[in-house]
């Protein structure tokens, strides 16, 4: 069985800017694959090479075994793309934009209309079917981008930041729709800046930065690479951290009334820790273990903390955003 997406040493230069610097990726059929990276990492460039909106400078790329250049028609026939930027034909009502899109994929007449209606119902904007794209609200526009990607019933659904700047309800709606599609066998490639989203949805994530692939792993194994934080509230906190003999403990500090301990696997360290503290005469009144977030792993890998820059572009950035 061929890979849904396979690239080898994919390169793209815009003049002196190396947008992609030798990306090799393999996405299995049926996988829910996340592509993470800070702004300008090259995510959109990668996607656009697959669909034919950007010409690669070097390397290979194929979709379901079809080379994206020499067998572009077969490759494009399998893909549904919801791009980052709105690129919708504003002359026609949205239902017609969908029947046209279906038509390009060989689906015409009543079948195309049925597909269009189904896609509009799936994303919940069926009652707006005779409206033009310009007259949809921002959230409805995002919904429509998904409907357009779905209307050809793609085997590979590519979503380039589908939830950027949408409200919580819509985000959850979109998650539900794409999770269902993935359960039914659709391969999904998702880029996002919401780490929570990747953590929740993706089987595998690739983290890239400045055109290079830093790592590919499951969100769980990535999180296992980082440390958990154990926060213990003590009855009478000491001024300096007590000495505890456990090589798994990375760091101990006193923060107010709490002792803060970092260790790779918090759940395993905690019981022994509490016992040791007890033996030394400290009474633990409360304990809280927080796992490493994917976000922390991401920040340590890319060296970018986008939390500072993000609000400029996304004023309503909810928590959990990079």
């Amino acid at each position: 069985m061929s890979l849904a997406i396979s690239t080898t040493d994919l390169e793209k230069s815009y003049g002196s800017v190396r947008a992609l610097d030798g990306i090799s990726l393999a996405v299995e059929q049926g996988e829910f694959f996340g592509l993470l990276g800070p702004n300008g990492a090259g995510k959109t460039t990668f996607i656009n090479i697959l669909v034919g909106l950007v010409r690669k400078s070097d390397g290979e790329a194929s979709v379901f075994g079809h080379d994206v250049e020499s067998e572009y028609r077969a490759a494009r026939d399998r893909i549904g793309l919801a791009p980052q930027e709105f690129n919708v034909d504003r002359f026609f009502p949205i239902r017609e934009v969908l029947t046209h899109k279906a038509g390009y994929h060989g689906i015409t007449g009543e079948e195309a209309k049925a597909r269009a209606d189904r896609a509009l119902r799936t994303v919940g904007i069926y009652d707006k079917r005779n409206t033009r794209f310009d007259w949809l609200s921002g959230g409805m526009k995002r919904r429509f981008m998904l409907a357009r990607a779905l209307v050809s019933d793609p085997d590979l659904l590519i979503l380039d930041e589908p939830t950027a700047g949408v409200d919580v309800e819509l985000r959850h709606d979109l998650w539900e729709i794409i999770t269902e599609l993935n359960d039914d066998g659709t391969t999904i490639l998702l880029t996002t800046h919401y780490i929570e989203e990747a953590e929740r949805l993706c089987d595998t994530v690739a983290i890239m930065d400045q055109g290079e692939k830093l790592t590919v792993a499951s969100p769980e194994s990535l999180m296992a690479r980082g440390n958990d934080t154990i926060r213990l509230r003590l009855e009478s906190p000491p001024t300096r951290p007590p000495k505890i003999d456990d090589e798994r403990i990375q760091e101990m500090t006193i923060e107010g009334e709490s002792l803060v301990v970092t260790a790779p696997t918090g759940g395993e360290v905690a019981p022994a820790l509490v016992r040791s503290l007890d033996r030394q005469g400290h009474t633990v009144v409360d304990m809280d273990i927080s796992r490493t977030s994917l976000e922390e792993v991401f920040v340590s890998l890319t060296g970018t903390d986008e939390a500072e820059t993000a609000p400029e572009t996304e004023p309503a950035a909810p928590e959990g955003m990079l």
């Binding site: 815009y14 909106l53 494009r76 709105f86 002359f91 046209h100 038509g103 994929h105 689906i107 015409t108």
Partner: protein, 262 residues
């Protein structure tokens, strides 16, 4: 099974709807402009202008007006549709569709040529109406109907093909205006639309022969009136050859992604 793919038919259909759904923009302006031309040049001034033979001026200019309207609309339709699609990025819908580059180009060219052809029919209709309404005039007739169809067919395809290049090349709306106003229109106006070549001095006659419009206008005039300074068969062959070359260039540009991909 149809010879052409469903995807191609969809794109042609979409491109046709784009102008058919705006009749006031598509059909009204050429109808009014050409009615004005015919009133002023054909009816009011026409009696004082002698273009030789027993041809009245209104009959003389009508073929030229048909060419002018048909080619500028075919050009404008293709260039605008492609440029506007690039500008608002909805051409991505076509670019990412599973159509071959040849299908994409031919769809734009055919839809635009159809618009040019409809305009040709419209202008001819205005001419027929005028000459039938005014009792002193002989109604418009077609000396060689097959040539009329053949010429209109080829020249609208040719200019739709040029329009594709223009639409890919333009970087701004101004570029479209420049191409239409400063290249196409002057070529047509100096392309023997309003005067017979023989009114020019020998030198300017030779210069005019470098203008491709001359062959188109002369060809269509021959088809209407059976008068021509240039062999219609040669004109038709040259224009058909040019059309094939231009469309091949269009396809090559699409394949290269000229103006379409980074």
């Amino acid at each position: 099974m149809s010879v052409v793919s469903a995807g191609w038919r969809t794109l042609v259909h979409r491109e046709i709807l784009r102008f058919v759904r705006r009749p006031r923009n598509t059909f009204l302006p050429p109808a009014i402009t050409n009615a004005l031309y015919l009133i002023v040049f054909g009816v009011i001034l026409g009696g004082r202008i002698d273009v030789g033979g027993d041809v009245t001026y209104i009959h003389f200019i009508l073929p030229g007006l048909v060419v002018l309207g048909a080619v500028s609309d075919a050009f404008q339709n293709a260039s605008f549709s492609i440029f506007h699609g690039r500008w608002n990025e909805y051409i991505h819908e076509v670019q990412t569709a599973p159509l071959s580059y040849t299908e994409m180009v031919i769809a734009y060219v055919v839809a635009s040529a159809l618009r040019g052809t409809l305009i040709a029919v419209l202008i001819t209709g205005v001419g027929v109406l005028f000459t039938n309404l005014i009792p002193s005039m002989t109604p418009v007739e077609f000396a060689h109907p097959v040539y009329v169809v053949a010429f209109v067919f080829v020249i609208t395809l040719l200019f739709a093909g040029f329009g594709v290049i223009g639409g890919l090349w333009a970087r701004d709306f101004d570029h479209l205006t420049v191409m239409n106003q400063f290249i196409i229109r002057p070529l047509v106006f100096f392309g023997a639309v309003f005067y017979p070549l023989s009114t020019l001095s020998q030198f300017w006659q030779s210069v005019s022969l470098l203008n491709p419009m001359v062959y188109m206008v002369e060809g269509v005039r021959f088809a209407f009136l059976d008068i021509s300074d240039i062999s219609p068969v040669v004109s038709l062959a040259v224009l058909a050859g040019a059309t094939v070359v231009v469309v091949a260039i269009d396809v090559w540009l699409f394949k290269r992604g000229f103006g379409l991909t980074d």
